[in-house]
Amino acid sequence: MSSYFRVTLMRSAIGLPRRTNDVLKALGLKKRMATVFHPVSPSVAGQIMKVKELVQVQEVDRRLTKQEVHLERKPDPGYYVEKTSGVEFEENRLA
């Protein structure tokens, strides 16, 4: 079964050596809290190992789209429209 690394950049690489920045760039991590997915492979694992102090890693079953990653954080609206004023007006008029 194929699995993926879910890598999130938790700490910024500002002020770190150029090699560290380059590894993050190679992983596709440009800013903090950015999340990327890579298939589990020795080369990716080695890249993650180079920046293990900066990232959070999970092994997941599939890669999410950018919108799906966003939707994980999106809260429920907490309301819905039960009856619009127009509907209520019609009900009162007919009654």
């Binding site: 080695g46 997941v60 079953d61 919108q67 999106k74 309301y79 819905y80 039960e82 009856k83």
Partner: protein
């Protein structure tokens, strides 16, 4: 932060190989070492040197050391995977919910619920976009934003609450919200309010020019029509199922 087993699996590090090989070596040539150690006392000296196992180690199937975490599935109303910002599942949109399973209530909740329902008025901590608003009947609420796609006169239902309570009792959800079938909270859209025009003066260096940035935000005004905790009879009438186990998160408790 980084699972060791995951890493070992991904890297296919020779840790396991080395461990396996050393164990095999120890098993196969155990006599050899012993012979070496006890050479002075024993006369026989075995010369079995099985440094290479018969089958290649990489061919032996290794047990999967980690189980990938299953990711949540979000589906758009068209049953596709969300790709763009416009693809929002229905449960994240302000639409009336549909239930496929009946509400599960514990017997203890049903026993305690009359204490709460009989004591009016009730308050509710309703969550709009995960922000709590402590409301009771007759309150006027100015939201800190302009609620989209509503007109004045519309009736809204608030369906995410963390606490329902009265003077002496409260019903708290566990880590999640209370089930929305336990209560009714209706609000009416009264209209929209706008703040006074704000003018911010912005200047740049060495430039005799003042840029004036104006802002005038609009806010939605709501009035709470009713906050009602459903009684046990109403819950059972609406098809609630009584379960004995205490997996239901809501619990009524006496306030300190």
């Amino acid at each position: 932060m980084f699972s060791r087993t995951t890493l070992a699996r991904a890297l296919a590090l020779p840790i396991e190989h080395a461990a396996a090989r050393s164990s095999i070596l120890a098993g196969a040539s155990n006599t050899t070492f012993r012979a070496c150690l006890h050479q002075a006392t024993t006369t026989s000296y075995s010369t079995t040197t099985s440094s290479h196992p018969s089958a290649p180690l990489s061919a032996t199937p290794r047990a999967q050391t980690s189980i990938p975490i299953e990711q949540p599935h979000f589906l758009t109303p068209q049953n596709t995977i969300p790709e763009t910002r416009a693809d929002v599942p229905l449960n994240k949109q302000p639409v009336a919910p549909t239930f496929d399973a009946p509400l599960k209530v514990s017997q203890s909740l049903l026993d305690m619920l009359p204490y709460l329902t009989s004591q009016k008025p009730h308050y509710i901590t309703a969550h709009l976009h995960d922000r709590p608003y402590l409301l009771t009947e007759g309150d006027q609420l100015r939201l800190p934003f302009l609620m989209p796609k509503v007109k004045s006169g519309d009736i809204l239902r608030f369906n995410r609450a963390s606490v329902l309570g009265s003077r002496e009792f409260s019903l708290k959800g566990g880590e999640k919200y209370l089930d929305e079938r336990l209560f009714e909270c209706r609000v009416r859209v009264m209209g929209f309010e706008s703040e006074p025009l704000r003018i911010t003066e912005k200047t740049k260096r060495r430039r005799r020019h003042v840029q004036k940035v104006t802002s005038k935000h609009r806010y939605t005004i709501l009035r709470v029509m009713d906050v009602k905790v459903k009684t046990a009879e109403e819950l059972l009438q609406e098809g609630a199922v009584v379960v004995q186990s205490a997996d239901f998160a809501a619990n009524v408790e006496l306030k300190e």
